[in-house]
């Protein structure tokens, strides 16, 4: 078994037992990148020199007997909308093709403090708007299980990198499913944390009330380790919650006896492929056979969630993306006759079609005469959806659903049909609307040979319950074997 195929938890032990060095781990991952990157295309920017330098430092510290974080020396990929001082942060957009941040995002800073090794910046849909990583200005990323299929999105580069062994773990961001959906499509684990538990400082804003940075890994333990490292109060983000967090990794408990799992019938209806339903229900049944209780629940407003999501997310995006005017940073058009002309050309040339559609929709729903009909009603529905979840959690600990209605689709299949692309987010957007935590974990391969994801949703700040339930399932199936590290 090669080092790049191992999990962070395994490598952490090996580093401490001197079975390998951090430089060897990093070299193994970069050799794998050289082998796979032409096909997969997970990265916008690679930082091999910095990575090897950092790995060397970790080896010296380990040799000197310093007490280090369990994540020290572990190679991690970072989504390209997370600001990294001195490293290009493009958001996969022409608009930020040359943007090198003068500061670090808090979540990234925390990785550096853990002595993690940064492999590079992962490809994504432009400004995180998309579900296939096909809207990236720079390149398309392929699913490492089948290069003719998408890795999902918008954190498709992060998911593909982890699945292919081009990183051991990765950071993604999730506004409507952008961690969970690609995790599901690539056969790995991804957590969208509770809103407010991870600082958004330095995360390039898409929809500020929904965005959240989260961890991705091949196992539940790796995801728990990375989440423990990045969560916590940050004065630089006013929406970051003032709470203390435990060590989720050390606390992992695989016992699912007494766990109550809610099954919302609205998430298993029309539009969800029968094979996907079956695989998720088989996973739930396995938990039930081992002591969990399963009950049917109802979340009646689910059918409207996608509508509310696209109104709220686009409204916030149109406001957040107003800052890209070609003045202080990023792309500026080459020829212009006036300030207005510079704005118009810069924005029209700098943004891709999907970003323009969201800006147009957002501007429209916030414009005079339409605000009440769209934005205000969407915000009311948001409250109703949150209340329905809260009521459901009075009778269950977690809710299980499919992560997506289907497994990874073909490159180009949905890109010209925005509605079809949006419809794929139906199982994930409700979680962001309600500010809840949710995980996607693999529950096997379908008849197309592609991974299928199960989503577990919990009440606010119930990440430990989610990790434990997921760890319970992972232990029962004898570990996940759905990543593409052996391909």
């Amino acid at each position: 078994m090669e080092l790049y195929q191992k999990t962070a938890a395994e490598l952490s032990k090996m580093l401490r037992n001197k079975e390998c060095s951090a430089v060897e781990v990093t070299k193994s991952v970069f050799d794998r990148i050289r082998q796979k990157e032409d096909t997969v295309g997970a990265y916008v920017t690679l930082t091999e020199d910095k990575a090897l330098e950092k790995a060397g430092e970790v080896d010296q510290k380990l040799a000197a007997g310093e007490e280090l974080s369990p994540l020290a020396g572990i190679p991690v990929g970072v989504k390209d909308n997370i600001c990294t001082q001195g490293i290009l942060t493009s958001c996969a957009s022409k608009m930020l093709y040359n943007f090198v941040p003068p500061y670090n995002a808090t979540a990234y800073d925390k990785l550096l403090k853990q002595d993690m090794v940064i492999t590079g910046k992962c490809n994504m849909d432009e400004f995180a708007m998309g579900s296939s990583t096909e809207t990236s200005y720079f390149k398309k990323t392929a699913n490492p299980h089948d290069p003719s299929r998408v890795p999902g999105g918008s954190s498709g580069g992060s998911a593909a990198a982890v699945s292919a062994g081009e990183a051991i773990v990765a950071l993604g961001s999730d506004t409507g499913g952008s961690i969970r959906q690609p995790a599901g499509f690539c056969g790995i684990v991804g957590l969208k944390p509770t809103y407010g538990s991870v600082s958004r400082y330095g995360l390039v804003a898409f929809a500020s009330s929904l965005d959240q940075i989260g961890p991705m890994g091949k196992s539940v333990a790796d995801t728990a380790m990375l989440y423990t490292a990045i969560c916590g109060r940050d004065p630089m983000d006013a929406t970051s919650a003032a709470r203390e967090y435990p060590d989720f990794y050390q606390n992992l408990n695989s016992n699912v006896k007494g766990l109550t799992i809610g099954i919302p019938k609205e998430y298993f209806g029309e539009g969800i492929e029968p094979e996907v339903k079956q695989m998720v229900m088989d996973a739930v049944k396995l938990l039930e056979q081992n002591g969990a209780t399963v009950k049917e629940i109802s979340l009646p407003s689910t059918g409207y969630a996608l509508n509310a999501y696209y109104i709220i997310a686009s409204a916030e995006a149109s406001s957040n993306l107003a800052r890209y005017d070609g003045v202080k940073y990023g792309y500026r058009t080459s020829e212009y006759t006036s300030l207005e002309d510079m704005y118009l050309k810069t924005r029209s040339e700098g943004f891709g079609d999907e970003v323009k559609r969201r800006i147009m929709l957002g501007t429209f729903v916030l414009s005079s005469g339409y605000y009440d009909a769209y934005y205000k009603r969407a915000k009311l529905l948001q409250k109703q959806i949150a209340a329905e979840f809260a009521a459901a959690f009075e009778g269950c600990d977690v809710i299980a659903t499919p992560t997506t209605p289907y497994s990874a689709f073909k490159l180009g299949e949905n890109i010209d049909d925005p509605l079809k692309m949006y419809a794929g987010d139906i199982c994930t957007v409700t979680v962001n609307i309600a500010g809840l935590p949710a995980m996607s974990l693999p529950c096997g391969m379908d008849s197309k040979g592609m991974p299928v994801g199960m989503q577990l949703i919990g009440p606010k700040f119930s990440e430990q319950t989610l990790f434990d339930a997921a760890f319970g399932y992972e232990s029962l199936v004898g570990g996940f074997t759905t990543s593409a590290v052996e391909k």
Binding site: G196, Y329, S348, T363, F364
Partner: protein
């Protein structure tokens, strides 16, 4: 509710975007189908703001700190002269 129609030219002006005729046509069709999708919302009564009393927003103290250096910030500007960002003439 009857289907609302988006005035592409007006919204584009507000959003500081411009489309040529061919693009405008493509966008018009796409935007209309997106609006047809999102406008299907149930009637709900206004029941106050969506806030989470257990996890309120916390503003930090309004204090000057040494954060980013001017030179570092200006490194990303498209055009700089004498420590200032250059823009087209704004006052006639």
């Amino acid at each position: 509710m009857t289907a609302m129609k988006m005035d592409i030219a007006h919204v584009a002006k507000l959003a500081k975007l411009q489309f040529d005729e061919q693009e405008a046509q493509k966008f018009e069709g796409q935007m209309q189908s997106i609006i047809d999708m999102v406008e299907n919302l149930p009637p709900l009564s206004d029941s106050g703001a969506l806030i989470d009393p257990e996890n309120p927003m916390i503003m930090r103290e309004d204090k000057v700190t040494d954060h980013c250096k001017r030179d570092e910030l200006l490194k990303n500007a498209p055009q700089v002269q004498a420590g200032c960002v250059v823009v087209p003439k704004v006052v006639e």
